[in-house]
Symmetry: D2
Subunit: 365 residues, 4 copies
């Protein structure tokens, strides 16, 4: 796997910096004959878009996606049919205030990749985080919108389940709530708690971490691979590649360390429909790297936004000790906007495994 | 990445089943001119080897590794020099009691990959778990022993930090303890607690999960890559590929969700030696996918062994409902033997990134 | 290797169709700190550009390249410095006369990929050849311009050595001639012969094949790899990926079949400078997949342009037998414009091997 | 693609040197449920085996293959069923006369990879050519035997069509002849010519080159890929990876340079069976990288064996000028034994494309 590409048969290459003319991706391996519209893609980009509530960065980007290749425009002027050739998508950067970043061009912001980039590359694009800006994730969401089309009948949904120490009450879980509040919370009762908490965080110029849960339903049993390309491994890998992610879990995750074998094993029976069914889903839908047919459940932890107003000790490129605070427009909880990104990553992993499995076993058609 | 290969320039392909004649790996991309001995490799295999205490499986395998290619034997009869060509290593299976597994050949053991394998492949090698047996990890450990030679000056050490609900006391952390008890515990005081607890688990024919922590010290700042081949991502991916792993963390991991930006940021100063230093290491040694020079800290959770003596509800290949209990020789806590495997995986990820970075930037020489 | 990507550490992904809004490429893995200008890239594109003489297609494309990412613009307004992140380049399509192709939208042009595409994908973009248009090669040339910067001191030069049955006289070989005639001929005496011959071909609405030779000088001995990623193999693979190529040779190529071991072996002596030197170069600069330090010599054969005015028997998508002749603007000898493409492919192969070798052996710095 | 691996979904990794304990390969991605026997594989190895006539090396290797993983032995004791996990195969080296090579351990044999290896790696296994020994190709033939099973109904056949200046008469082509003479000649009349010619070459301690032609019949139209993973490109790449190959052609190959568009275009009609058929096959069965359904025809040129008895000028590792002649057992025409190797390479390329296409388009089932 290259540094800016992921996937095996459904391959995504992203490119672009925060303050260049544009960013985008090339989706290679999408099967031919799939119908899609710009709106299919734009809807997911809009969910990720900044500036939609006071709890996310006020940077305002139109984030309008263009499709440059890989599709045949249909006569209705809206629909495209994929041709099986690489789909190139581009999003122009429109709201770049490079001056915001001028004074910290030579300073290493704590928690950011400034220092490690400079040591690796000897130089870096300091404007808006350059390549490691969260803007790169717009390209992932565009790719994910295509990935969702590959295996019909699968839903990929995400929700925020924790901000700081405040967790949702899982008994209140209601997917319908997720798009009705600015936090992607599935628990309406948690919304005011998070609002108050984040208002305080925001006023203090501080930030806080979060946990996101992604659930994929409808992934057929048998999809995946053992050993080094486990479905859970590939999902974990892609979630871990999202900026600021520090942990990933499948199913019971770290809690499984505390369980006994009796508690953790998902027993099986034959359902009323004559098909195998599991009596529980501690495994999060994956055993031995291969889907069981149960919902795939993945969680990931996002660290607090590193750009904060409180001055922090650091150094600059010339080895001088400095105090720095990050001005500019930032998210008090960057985890919120990570929900559609996480969905996109799981959709890409499933799409890739689907094509590979159809190739290797021919059993999934 | 193929289903049985990992790495980009330092590439490892493993092969073999629990009950075939042998298992092994091919390590491709190892630089030429590196000196190694069989003992270098065997020592790590011996740490992983079953049958060393009453807390691990009593299956007795000699696990003697042979090197079949890629090296020039030196005159001392012990040392080999790598030639830059693929290093093929083989471990013969010597203690295979296939009869143990006969009666469950057609039944799906809960928590195992039996059902998902059968759906994917339409058939499976049921003997000892076949390809998804933990024996596959012996090949990883052998590959890791080579990986440790690639970048001199780095230490890769692991420890068990939790069994069931019993965590170590981190204030007692002493690396010297790790090889002095059957649990790889860095905290001597926890050892009797775990002994009692696991004796009970073992007597009940039950099992329990665990958490392992791997620390790599000496990895140079600047090693790694942004975006889709982040050093933490590749470490997480490889740890997640180990059998029974359900969660992975870097640095603060899931706890980072509860921190504020002020708490989480690792501040920097110039050390007495004139070099940059960090005042803390919440990041676990990696920022933006690239090493900071601080110790790399990764943790992973292993679910309880699925093979337990308590009867569980399941089904068989013919769709019949059954009750089954797994006889045979098994680990009450498979997490214990995962410590050297986790070390090997981190060593392989670092070795691969080192070769890639030396290629791309030429800065690490 | 994916369907639209080549390279291992220096990776190129191209995208785009003949009649979409644009085409382009993403160059991933370019080391940081390399200086380049738009003119560096544009110069090579201009050599490949159509419409420059009566012997190539009259389609007129500006073929102006834009760099969208991966570089830091410098203060002079002309120079860029690479940052080590992916370099996205785009060329807009400006002269698309889709109507030219209307009547053959459903017919399979003999010698073209129309039929095989339709069987594979079930649909195709028939406009101008879609993805398999020679326009795709503009993206290769842009990538090659970056590749030429990777390993300083290497020259990549190409020449046309045969059109139809008319071969150059190798005794007249003069690199200075190559850019002074519309054929990239290194032999001034052959130019009028080819002019007369191609004028006749063109007037008949016919076409003819050609042979191109690429020479890379300055590639250091030791660059390359044995077995499955031989330097000659990778060069051959990339040359073979150019549209219409039907054969590839290294050094003596097919003539080596007629040589004896005595004739073919390149003997060695120590030169006056104390360095090893070869007394001949039958090997074309590569032994066992690894460069010897001698000039690398590769040749490839391009079949005649399939679009001709003479009616040919074919069938259409509905299984009807048809007679078809290809109108529109085409090259009588598509091989001419393949010279800069071949150079680009060899430059990319060498750049990739250089980064890989620097990674694996660290010996090339 | 790694240095010792090829393929994308059907992946082959080979390992081993001429004078180590063994050599072998790991075939990853073979679909489950395929029936094969040791004899299936051994038959092809026996065709490649040295020592079968006076025209090939007299080294005597049993070349007995063992299957170490990836299969379930069936009750008949002969048949195996593939499980979808990696198939590891091993061939032990039994006839190693290392002393033969002693005196040239430090000298660079002209035409061999000795010098280029030493520059690249800084050391090499000089015994019998080490990794670049033709023995490596035994592993390819074993992998090819598995590849032949992937897509039923395809035949892969090869023939020698030229030794030195002596070409077969294509009008005499008879596949039945190929296994009835020691040259794999399809033309019985050429056999005595080659016998006399090679006897002379052999007596002189000389060697000569050859051309091999591989024909794959039954590859379905639509198999392959455009642009960078063309079916012809992948075939050319694998043929070019065989030791001593200096040129590769598809269909008309280099002769296509001399054809006009009218001559080269393969016209189409609807056959009596209602299916499309081509009236000729200049394309060699591939257009735009995708199979047309016609026989795939590939040729490759092999240079004369570099090991000859005539003394040649060279240098040694210490920069001294030497005269050397290669003693030991060698092939006067190494091209003869390349026939089954070429077949194996084409079979592997087709198998890989078949699995990828089934994955991407789902159309080939």
């Amino acid at each position: 796997m290259s540094h800016n590409t992921f996937g095996h048969l459904f391959r995504v290459t992203t490119w672009g910096e925060s303050h260049g003319p544009a960013l985008g991706c090339v989706v290679d391996g999408c099967p031919p004959g799939i119908s899609l519209t710009l709106a299919d893609i734009q809807n997911y980009l809009d969910r990720r878009k900044p500036g939609q509530s006071r709890f996310v960065t006020q940077r305002r980007e139109a984030d309008q996606v263009k499709i440059l290749s890989g599709v045949l425009p249909q006569e209705d002027g809206e629909t495209y049919i994929t041709t099986g050739t690489p789909i190139s998508m581009m999003i122009e950067n429109t709201d770049q205030r490079s001056k915001d970043y001028g004074e910290i061009a030579r300073q290493y912001r704590p928690g950011h990749a400034d220092y490690s980039y400079d040591v690796k590359y000897g130089l870096r694009d300091y404007r808006g985080g350059g390549r490691s800006s969260a803007r790169e994730t717009a390209a992932r969401v565009a790719a994910g919108a295509v990935a969702r089309k590959i295996l019909p009948g699968v839903t990929y949904r995400g929700a925020l389940v924790q901000i700081g120490k405040h967790k949702i009450n899982r008994d209140n879980w209601d997917w319908a709530q997720v798009d009705q509040n600015p936090f992607f919370s599935p628990d309406a009762e948690t919304v005011p708690v998070w609002e108050n908490y984040l208002d305080e965080i925001r006023k203090n110029g501080s930030s806080v971490g979060a946990v996101i849960e992604i659930v994929a339903e409808g992934v057929p049993a048998g999809l995946g691979a053992p050993i080094y390309s486990k479905l859970d491994q590939d999902i974990a890998s892609l979630l871990m590649s999202i900026n600021a992610v520090k942990g990933v879990e499948i199913g019971e995750g770290f809690d499984s360390a505390e369980l006994t074998g009796e508690e953790n094993a998902d027993e099986m029976r034959i359902g009323n429909d004559g098909h195998p069914r599991f009596l529980s889903n501690h495994a999060g839908g994956i055993l031995g790297g291969i889907a069981t047919g149960e919902p795939i459940v993945a969680r990931f932890a996002i660290k607090p936004t590193s750009s904060i107003l409180t001055p922090r000790q650091s150094i600059d490129q010339d080895g001088r000790e400095v105090e720095l605070r990050t001005k500019g427009r930032h998210d008090p909880c960057v985890g919120i906007r990570a929900v559609p990104i996480g969905e996109a990553m799981v959709a890409c992993a499933v799409a890739d495994h689907y094509l590979r499995d159809r190739g290797q076993t021919g059993r999934l058609d």
